[in-house]
């Protein structure tokens, strides 16, 4: 279904001008390129769908001192790509902080015995001290790997997630990894994801993808007999169980998910990936690199899909099924039909409560576009959206999702986001923990759209019910009515009365 609405482009243009006027000239000039209002594009997409143009500069350095919401390459590698692989030990290599702050915060669900055969919600760090900076940390790293092998013998591999100092002091973590991998006959992956590399999390994703290519693929014999319906799910981190709510659908239509990258993943699933018949990529931003590589080297085609909300799930299931032919297509239709009762029940229940509510988003990865239709499935409208670390190709893809007049903000600053929200006063904001409380102070409902605000899954049909319920409980909670003290209201009324 497609929801018809338009956004107030004149207001949005004006808001951009307003926020820019507060910057020093040099910063205003740079920030200007990151802000825009979606315009109708003349050409249309293949299916005759209207495409908007989101013409902003992206993936360039953040300006110092403006309160960017972005993270770093380490966050992109350890936090996003590698961290969820459950049977490997991921060492936060450097000082204690990075590992501490990212410990257990992404909600990558997994099943395993933590500390025994699974290690996701643990913080392994080399806890660098001054002497390690001065004399180098390679000897320490060797010892750390020895101690991991002794204390956690059921690990299936180790990754070394570099923090800033590693690249600055000239440590050779590659040599250590090679040596120790041979000694223990195991997989050890050095990752050069020092936080100062690149301009955001994004380069960390890329570096992490490359590390899989260089240090995992083709290093061991994969004993696996491939089947014709084997697929990998790429770029689903199983936040709150997202990947599970997706997997169940793919299996129901007859596919075999032989690897899930990287939520609830094991090293075996990573190693086996090149044998699959198709890569299904959800978070394009963080894992397109490895999909392109697998296509080039192993001939595995890849396809983007979207499992947020019934409209996109239906379209995606059909598109995926088409790749495999009539048998799977027929099963896909049955699955869509089977879930339609649930879908209609959810929409019937929540549409009247959410219809016409206006939403602003600011997230990372795929969500600033991928979740738009899920909101629209509930009758909600997207007035603004933006990415922390998108590239140009993300904004191109965003054009397929947003309506004309939507406010677009790339690498938004704390100042801009606050002003935009204050002036637009949407009915709901979806962003991260750093944004949550300031928005709520303004009396505007908020949902964290990185961690699903400790809820989820939001993927799949089962997840859509939870998504709808969560948006409803945020928007329609009675607390938003309690902000003004009654005597304050009376005083305001009296004041306005006197003025008349």
């Amino acid at each position: 279904m497609s929801l018809d609405y338009e956004n107030d482009d004149a207001l949005h243009e004006k808001l951009i001008e307003e926020v820019l006027s507060h910057y020093p000239d040099k910063a205003a000039k740079r920030r200007k390129k990151h802000l825009s209002v979606a315009k109708n594009k003349q050409e249309t997409a293949e299916e005759g769908q209207v495409v908007s143009e989101c013409d902003v500069k992206s993936n360039i350095k953040s300006i110092p001192g403006v309160m960017t919401i972005r993270g770093c390459a380490y966050a992109g590698s350890k936090g996003v790509v590698w961290g969820p692989i459950k049977d490997m030990v991921h060492i936060s290599h450097g000082p204690v902080g990075c590992g501490q702050y990212s410990w257990s915060q992404r909600r990558n669900y997994y099943v395993g015995t933590t500390g025994i055969d699974a290690f996701v919600t643990m913080q392994f760090t080399s806890d660098f001290q001054e002497k390690d900076i001065v004399f180098g940390g390679d000897k320490k790293l060797e010892k750390i790997i020895d101690e991991i092998e002794e204390l956690f013998p059921l690990n299936n591999g180790v990754t070394v997630q570099s923090e800033c100092p590693i690249g600055l002091i000239g440590d050779d973590i590659e040599a250590v990894s090679r040596k120790k991998a041979e000694e223990y006959n195991t997989t050890i992956v050095p990752v050069r994801c020092e936080g100062f590399r690149g301009v955001s999390q994004s380069l960390g994703h890329h570096i992490a993808n490359d590390a899989i290519r260089d240090w995992v693929f083709d290093t061991t014999e994969v004993a696996y007999e491939a089947g014709r319906y084997d697929v990998n799910v790429i770029g689903d981190y199983n936040i709150g169980g997202d990947a599970w709510a997706s997997r169940i659908l793919l299996e129901e239509i007859g596919l075999h998910v032989v690897g899930n990258w990287s939520g609830d993943a094991t090293l075996a699933e990573i190693e086996r990936a090149p044998t699959a018949k198709l890569n299904l990529i959800h978070c394009y931003r963080s894992m397109n690199y490895i999909c392109r590589h697998m296509e080039e080297k192993y001939g595995v085609p890849w396809m983007e899909y979207n499992f947020f909300g019934p409209s996109q799930i239906e379209a995606s299931l059909r598109q995926i099924a088409k790749h495999f032919g009539p048998e799977i297509e027929e099963r896909a239709e049955r699955v869509i039909a089977r879930y339609s009762a649930l879908t209609y029940a959810v929409i019937d229940k929540y549409w009247p409560r959410l219809r016409g509510k206006r939403v602003m988003l600011y997230v990372g990865g795929l969500r600033p576009r991928h979740v738009i239709t899920a909101y629209e499935d509930l009758g909600m409208e997207i007035v603004g959206t933006g990415y922390e670390f998108a590239h140009n190709d993300d904004y191109q893809r965003t054009g397929h999702y947003v309506k004309e007049g939507t406010l677009i903000y790339d690498d938004v600053t704390g100042y801009e986001l606050e002003k935009f929200i204050e002036r637009i006063r949407p009915d709901l904001v979806g962003s991260g923990i750093k944004e949550k409380y300031s928005v709520q102070k303004m009396g505007i409902p908020f949902r964290q759209m990185h961690s699903w605000d400790y809820s989820g899954p939001y993927h799949g049909y089962d997840g859509f019910a939870i998504f709808a319920r969560d948006m409803d409980l945020a928007v329609n909670n009675p607390v938003w009515e309690l902000y003004d003290a009654p005597w304050q209201k009376a005083a305001m009324l009296a004041a306005s009365g006197a003025a008349e």
Binding site: T114, S126, E147, L151, P153, L168, T266, L267, L342
Partner: protein, 513 residues
């Protein structure tokens, strides 16, 4: 199909439905290349043994689940305790995203800080340009009264000189010459967040006190609270006590309002905090009192060098620690401790006497920042408890010695062991081999509760998975009452759970306890 619109199943029940259990079992069997169950069980049992404990405690390089964070977190927290002060962290930008998230997740409040966003080229050429542009942008956009600069490890490794950079930035007009930009070098590879706190507070004092003439204002006291996740409750409670006594005091660093702003339609980027003019005037105080010695070692040295008397405590919590704090304050200020406070004290003692039978002989494992561990060990001993494991990842040899002295002061401390520089994976072995009744720490302790079955009481930063505890004090007699009640609730809830099985254990499911 387990999901429905009428009764939406959340993740916990959803994935226990048969369809999902089957799916996950098949995933494991077919695709995960798992170890045999027996191997996993054997290893799990092995980790509970004394043998495993020995190799675990003998670790020299690997750190697993530490109970400490890095210096700049402490600096950002410290800066939040001064009037309209923006934290500016010089170095990589991802760090700042982490500090802000970490503080927000604990306080359930916004946490504002900016980064100089240094990248690879800054690693080569230094971050001067980032500092100049960054200060200009922060000054213009966020209208601060003061910008407090600290560093990430990147800036420390390449050796950026904050003092020189800030002077340069002022010369280039990034901020006015008379604008206050205190700074502190806060290398993440030295000490922990408590040291970053120390350095930043010292940096602020130096900024305002350096070269100034001191005119002693007799009887006036500066109070430095230290890094404290309970600052909201604690600072307000201490102010109440000091006001009751009529003491002339200044809190130096007070984040209690910053991290507890009201919801009334307005987002306050800045709220409360020590006023700049009060920081300036604080030079004239007769004495500076630190509530957490291991958070303020360098700051106190500086105060001493400035001519002030200095006193320090270890997180004044419980009866005797609060007594000592009040007596000392009374001594310095010349103000009597009023009868009302004596009655409060009596009420805490009364409550402890009422409940003593439930607390006597209980064994505790306590971990956290050094001063906190000292405080809780002391208070549990006041209730007849036996602190068995006292662990501070960021403890020092001096702390260890002080702890041992405290524990030796009572037979209740006879079996106590002090663990410096150990982490929570070490604690796991300790709890398996020498079990205790209760574990006191922060949210990270929940993994120990899961693995060892030891009930966890969350009394220290960070607390992510329980809400609003930090809004209530732990310090002072009122705080003691709160801690006492929290411990008792845990004991009673557990006892009820253990005795509620109908027809089996519920003979002990007593109505009155």
């Amino acid at each position: 199909m387990p999901q429905s619109a009428e009764k939406v199943l959340d993740h916990a029940p959803l994935f226990r439905e048969p369809e999902y259990r089957k799916m996950l079992a098949e995933k494991k069997r077919n695709f995960e290349r798992p170890y045999p169950d027996r191997t996993v069980t054997d290893q799990r049992e092995f980790t509970k043994t004394w043998h495993y404990r020995e190799i675990n405690l003998a670790r020299e390089a690997l750190v697993v689940n530490p109970a400490k964070a890095c210096q700049p977190l402490g600096a950002v927290y410290a800066a939040a305790g001064f009037e309209r002060t923006m934290s500016f962290v010089h170095g990589s930008q991802g760090c700042v995203a982490y500090y802000r998230s970490h503080l927000s997740r604990h306080f359930k409040e916004p946490s504002s800080a900016v980064s100089s966003s240094m990248t690879e080229d800054a690693a080569v050429f230094g971050g001067l340009k980032n500092m100049v542009d960054g200060l200009a942008n922060t000054y213009k956009l966020y209208d601060p009264k003061m910008i407090a600069v600290s560093t990430t490890c990147m800036a420390e490794v390449i050796g950026d000189d904050l003092h020189g950079f800030i002077e340069n930035a002022k010369d280039e007009g990034a901020v006015p010459h008379d604008f206050d930009v205190p700074f502190a070098h806060t290398p993440a590879f030295v000490g922990s967040h408590v040291d970053g706190y120390d350095s930043m507070v010292k940096g602020v004092l130096e900024n305002f006190w350096k070269g100034e003439q001191r005119t002693v204002k007799p009887g006036s006291i500066n109070i430095i609270p230290g890094f404290d996740g309970f600052c909201v409750g604690n600072n307000r409670e201490l102010k109440r006590l000091l006001n009751l006594m009529g003491v002339s005091y200044t809190f130096i660093q007070d984040a209690s309002d910053q991290f507890d702003t009201p919801s009334d339609g307005e987002f306050r980027m800045y709220d409360g905090g020590t006023k700049i003019e009060d920081v300036r005037a604080a030079l004239n105080a007769e004495a500076t009192v630190s509530l957490q010695q291991y958070n303020t070692r360098r700051t106190l040295e500086y105060c001493k060098a400035a001519g002030q008397a200095t006193v320090s405590f270890h997180y004044p919590l419980g009866v005797k620690a609060t007594d000592e704090f009040l007596v000392k304050v009374s001594e310095i200020s010349g103000r009597e401790i009023p009868e009302a406070i004596r009655l409060e004290r009596g009420r805490l003692v009364d409550a402890m006497a009422d409940s003593q039978s439930w607390l006597h002989g209980k064994k505790y494992a306590i971990y956290g920042d050094p001063d906190f561990v000292y405080a809780v060990a002391r208070f549990t001993m006041e209730t007849g408890g036996e602190p068995t494991h006292c662990l501070a990842t960021n403890g020092t040899p001096a702390w260890e010695a002080e702890m041992k002295k405290l524990l030796a002061s009572s037979p209740l401390g006879n079996d106590a062991q002090v663990w410096t520089n150990k982490d929570l994976w070490a604690m796991r072995s300790l709890l398996f081999t020498e079990p205790v009744d209760l574990l006191i720490g922060n949210s990270y302790g929940k993994y120990l509760e899961r693995d060892t079955g030891t009930p966890l009481i969350r009394l220290m930063f960070p607390i992510f998975d329980r809400h609003h505890h930090h809004r209530f004090p732990l310090m002072g007699y009122q705080g003691g009452l709160r801690v006492l009640t929290t411990i008792l609730d845990k004991i009673f809830d557990r006892l009820d759970r253990e005795t509620m099985q109908v027809g089996v254990t519920d003979y002990s499911y007593d109505l009155t306890r």
